[in-house]
């Protein structure tokens, strides 16, 4: 916490650099989230270093959003969580509600998926940004108004000073998401959690918003937890990636390494299912590769959740879930992949 942020060039994009020795900004251990009748997140662990972007990828329903809300204890009543979330040395799961509220919005910002519904329709966008400033920075409403105009300018909303009194319905989707971003970064947080920030936007706006988010990350020296199902977004903006499947992290690696050589069969399947313009694939000459089966097969699976869909699954895979273990430059949860003899395995990947 006392570690000077400025000592670190904010554009550092190499994970596992010397900064690790200062301890990560956010350290999540053995996090589980259970909704009534449904275990959404199963015993996952990961960390985020100061100033880095960690992407949490996975298909819908794999527990990405549940994870992000659990970090800030924003899950609905009746949801059970277990584990430990250390943020700058504070265990967010064991701190009291008042201390938690002092961290929410001040040290950790949140950007939600749907900018249409995540702004209160009956209050001006300015008031909604300013109330965080009034709450945390102890500004008066007049001071907060000035600061809000600066923030709106920071997120590149044109004519910022005059937009304070606008209501959400006066703005377009992209503008609303910028307002959400302004809200999330208003108190200079150390960590911003972005839950599918571009899913509801059209493609041309997506890259603009992500580019804005990334430049703010560098400018304000904050870390970013980017939750997405879009591999293109991950490849372009993440430092490290954690791939989730059915509530577990199956592979965790530096973004470049993951895209270069995916190790877990699920990650491999995801990469194969991605289109590339340059490899000449087109529907007229090739069929898009897919992962057989559906995620529904993971329900009630005793062993590896991916085993029913995995072409390399062995008998052992069905007995107990594999642990996330270090393997070369990354962490992988797959018995088959981490076995010493990898020659036959490679052959299968080649297909």
């Amino acid at each position: 916490m006392t570690a000077p942020n400025s000592a670190m060039p904010p554009s550092t994009r190499t994970p596992g650099s010397i900064l690790r020795s200062q301890g990560p900004l956010l350290d999540v251990r053995n996090l589980s989230v259970a909704f009534p009748g449904h275990l959404a997140v199963r015993d996952i662990s990961f960390h985020i270093d100061h100033g880095e972007t960690l992407a949490l990828v996975g298909e819908s329903g794999c527990g990405k959003s549940a994870t992000s809300f659990a970090l800030m204890r924003l899950l609905p009543r009746g949801t059970a969580v277990a584990g430990e979330v250390n943020f700058n040395g504070i265990d967010l799961f064991r701190t009291d509600a008042r201390a938690l509220r002092n961290i929410r919005g001040k040290r950790i910002g949140l950007i939600l998926q749907e900018p249409m519904t995540s702004l209160n329709p009956v209050r001006t966008i300015g008031d909604q940004i300013a109330e965080g400033l009034v709450r945390h920075e102890k500004l008066t409403w007049t001071q907060a108004r000035t600061r809000t105009a600066e923030l709106l300018d920071l997120v590149r909303i044109p004519d910022a000073a005059r937009r304070y009194d606008d209501y959400p319905h006066n703005m377009s989707g992209g503008m609303r998401q910028r307002v959400m971003i302004a809200m999330a970064v208003s108190c200079n947080p150390q960590l911003v959690i972005a839950d599918e920030p571009t899913t509801a936007l059209d493609v041309t706006l997506q890259s603009e918003v992500l580019e804005l988010l990334d430049s703010l990350r560098r400018q304000l020296q904050m870390a970013l937890l980017l939750i997405t199902h879009d591999l293109g977004v991950v490849a372009q903006w993440a430092d490290r990636v954690a791939v989730m499947y059915a509530g577990r992290i199956v592979e965790q690696a530096a973004a470049h390494d993951l895209f270069e050589r995916p190790v877990h069969p699920y990650s491999q399947g995801l990469m194969r299912a991605t289109l590339r313009l340059d490899d000449g694939t087109h529907y007229s000459n090739a069929r898009l590769s897919e992962i057989p089966g559906s995620v529904a097969s993971a329900a009630g699976e005793q062993g590896c959740a991916f085993a029913p869909r995995c072409s390399q699954a062995t008998e052992a895979c069905y007995h107990a879930p594999p642990a996330l273990v270090p393997f070369r430059d990354r962490l992988v949860a797959c018995r088959v992949a981490v076995e010493p003899s990898e020659e036959p395995f490679r052959a299968v990947v080649g297909r």
């Binding site: 800030m72 924003l74 609905p76 919005g105 910002g109 519904t117 009956v122 209050r123 965080g132």
Partner: protein, 328 residues
């Protein structure tokens, strides 16, 4: 500023819409009342005990009841155009004076019951939502259900028994202490103590409706993303409820409350009778019994005015609560 211009637009729109509505109400009511057997002359003759055909004809001629229906209607409309509500054969005074002496009492009763039911109902609803599905919610829900199902006149009689007869805290009827001849603040206080019981019995049902509605609307709003966003900003539970949840939840409540204003006037008639409150409701009832149709028409006309004006106020409140409603 935006709010003011919206208010102006809303007012002018309502004025244009209100004119044909009021005209329709007058004509329709007039024609409907023609279907009622008997007229004022019959009642006066009946009360006097003996009347000849000649005196009755003279009475009818005096009141203008001998004219054909359409002529009577034209006469009535002519009076209205000159801002006069006609003359009451029964009370022997202009209907306008008669109503104006009663209108403030009815408005006072309606307004106090309306405000009481909204304030208490929203407070109950917010409380129930805050403790949703736990025992304070269940207990209050039961109480609200009793309020909802108890008829207003019964509640009126029961609170008279409790508060005036048993406890002797509040007067049981009327609007002022007879013969007390108070002035200034003392007079106001006297009026208010007389107002308490009628307002409560009129407000009961509506309180229950608004409480249920506020509870469900707040629970609905609490599930919205922007409430989660507000939590993520680090706001406390009270600030979230007040700034984010309640204001959104009030929109459906005020919509229903606006629709209820007519019912409130109807309920006022019953309550006025139970408590001997000298309002328009009792005047209307007496007018029906006496076949005093000029008075009845005047009451109906004024009532429709009250409802229209109240709806304009609700519209304005709505426009203030929900900025998305913009000169639609």
């Amino acid at each position: 500023m935006r709010l003011l211009s919206r208010a102006g637009k809303s007012l002018s729109r309502t004025a244009i819409q209100a004119l044909p509505v009021v005209l329709g109400i007058v004509v329709l009511n007039f024609l409907l009342l023609q279907l009622v057997p008997g007229d004022a002359a019959d009642v006066i003759a009946g009360e006097s005990g003996s009347a000849t055909a000649e005196t009755m004809a003279a009475l009818r001629k005096q009141f203008g009841l001998d004219q054909p229906v359409l002529i009577q209607l034209a006469n009535y409309l002519d009076h209205l155009a000159h801002l006069s509500l006609g003359f009451s054969p029964r009370y022997n005074t202009p209907v306008g004076d008669l109503i104006m002496s009663r209108l403030p009492f009815t408005l006072l009763l309606m307004l106090s019951a309306f405000v009481l039911s909204l304030v208490v109902g929203i407070a109950f609803g917010a409380f129930m939502a805050a403790f949703a599905r736990r025992w304070p919610d269940r207990a209050l829900s039961l109480f609200v259900l009793i309020l909802y199902s108890a008829p207003g006149f019964w509640v009126g009689l029961m609170i008279i028994v409790l508060f005036s007869v048993k406890l002797g805290w509040l007067p049981s009827g009327g609007a002022m202490t007879v013969g007390a001849d108070l002035t200034g603040l003392a007079r106001m206080g006297d009026l208010l103590t007389h107002l308490v019981l009628p307002s409560i019995s009129l407000a009961c049902f509506f309180t229950a409706v608004y409480a249920r509605l506020t509870r469900s609307a707040m629970l609905e709003v609490e599930r919205q993303d922007f409430v989660r966003a507000a939590e993520a900003k680090g706001l406390g539970p009270f600030a979230i409820q007040m700034r984010h949840v309640l204001r959104n939840a009030l929109i459906p409540v005020t919509t229903v409350a606006g629709l209820h204003l007519g019912n409130l006037l109807g309920g006022a008639i019953v309550v006025e009778t139970v408590f001997g409150w000298p309002g328009m409701g009792r005047l209307a009832l007496d007018a029906v019994m006496a076949r005093d149709f000029n008075v009845l028409l005047g009451v109906l006309l004024l009532s429709s005015f009250v409802v229209i004006v109240a709806n304009v106020l609700i519209d304005l409140l709505h426009a203030w609560l929900d900025p998305r409603i913009e000169s639609v």
